[in-house]
Amino acid sequence: MIGNDVVDLDLARHQSNWRRKGYLDKIYTSEEQLLIAAAAHPDQMLWLLWSMKESAYKIHNRKTGIRNFAPTALACKLISLDGEIKGAVTVDHQTYFTKSEFSLTYVHTIASASVNKLLDIAIKIYSQPNHPEDYKSLAADCVSHHGKYLALVYG
């Protein structure tokens, strides 16, 4: 099982005011808040961690059948930031490995319980107005849609 999540950084900037009081505490662990505070680009770090949580949640939710909104229970760790951004998300004693990429206007993360599986995942990212007419027919293993972007992954 694989998961993915795309964040349209322009839309996120308008849609979410993460600097409002109480916001960070409801989504990020204290360790993650330190990463955000220490980052050269706090916005990018914040949405990177968010996309890691979301991509891991998409696998965990399908696996357990439990739907909830518990972002602080998905704890992120960054393993490498050089070139490829690699990380791990732990929830209920289960770890999911992640790989993320930035463009100027989006961040996209893929997740899998197996670190080797990440190498085999094929990624297709569409930007409006070039979305496929019927993405459901493209039978992706996981789909993420935010703002201008539609991200399909196969693994």
Binding site: Q15, Y23, K26, N68, F69, A70, A73
Partner: protein, 84 residues
């Protein structure tokens, strides 16, 4: 506070974050924030912060976990109002 009074206070909060839709016009206890109202998951936390302000309550992370529908939100709000 009755369920109806709570929904009336919730509606303007939800409207801020939900795209215009028929499901939003017909907002009711069974409405699901993500599946029916198409609210972005990153905005769920804004709804929860607005609810805290509007009702003068604090929602801990365990209660927040359940708040994916209007019905679940009403239950949490009632519980927290009773604790006040």
């Amino acid at each position: 506070m009755s369920n109806e009074e709570i929904i009336n206070k919730l509606k303007p909060i939800i409207t801020t974050y939900a795209p215009v839709s028929e499901a939003l016009d017909n907002l009711n206890e069974d409405s699901d924030f993500i599946k029916d109202l198409n609210i972005n998951s990153a905005n769920l936390v804004d709804i929860i912060l607005d609810v805290e302000e509007e009702f003068g309550i604090t929602i801990d992370n365990t209660s927040m976990e359940k708040m994916l529908t209007v019905k679940a939100s009403i239950e949490v709000i009632k519980e927290k109002l009773n604790e006040k």
